[in-house]
Symmetry: C2
Subunit: 108 residues, 2 copies
DNA sequence: CGTGTAAGGAATTCTGACACG
DNA sequence: CGTGTAAGGAATTCTGACACG
């Protein structure tokens, strides 16, 4: 149910590669984490690991920073976005649930 | 024309992550490269970088090794596979070319 | 043939801090 | 506030070689 995720959300990219992909400095990338805009995983040794989704998100963040939006403001925007998305998710599931109840379970 | 590739073929994964994803030792991963079964890119400093496709390929290789197939044999199989695929690609393009010639250019 | 390992070095990453503003 | 930088240390990766078989 739901394509969920495959490669795009696997946290496998080290910060040096992210630097190359985004053009951001490691300092910037770590700072955005400090401001709770991005959430890499960690290797056993402590190295940060990012996903392709994270890379995309970092580029969006960079754009907003360039537009003069502060990290605090960006964070609020992102939280609002997340809330909207989870509500959509709930609606989708409720509708799907009703369909299943009426017509039986089928994939998708 | 052709979905080509997106994330799956981007070489962004370091050998330590590949080790975790595949369960292979770094020694094994490097050895399969030495035997020309896998072709990582390199960072400026010399570190190997793999794609998700590489990870999948490594797991197939590992299976064959377990079945007692030698690297040299695996390499021959892979070359044969590649030849078949590129021939399919050529046929596909020729047919597409004829269609374009008769009915004009359109996407896909 | 395929893999483990110890060796030494180089590249990569980490944190906390100072600086500027 | 957002970012650069030098500092010191730790984790990561690299190569070439010896070993076993």
């Amino acid at each position: 149910m739901g394509n969920d995720f495959s490669y795009k959300d696997k946290k496998v990219i080290t910060i040096g590669i992210v630097r190359e992909l985004t053009g951001l400095s490691e300092r910037q990338i770590r700072y955005y984490e400090e401001r709770k805009l991005i959430f890499p995983e960690r290797s056993p040794g402590g190295s940060r690991k990012y996903s392709f989704s994270d890379v995309e998100l970092l580029m969006e963040i960079a754009n907003k920073i360039e537009d003069g939006i502060q990290t605090h403001e960006i964070r609020k925007q992102m939280l609002k976005e997340q809330k909207k998305q989870s509500q959509d998710e709930i609606r989708r599931k409720m509708i799907q649930g009703q369909l299943n109840a009426q017509f039986g379970i089928r994939k998708n």
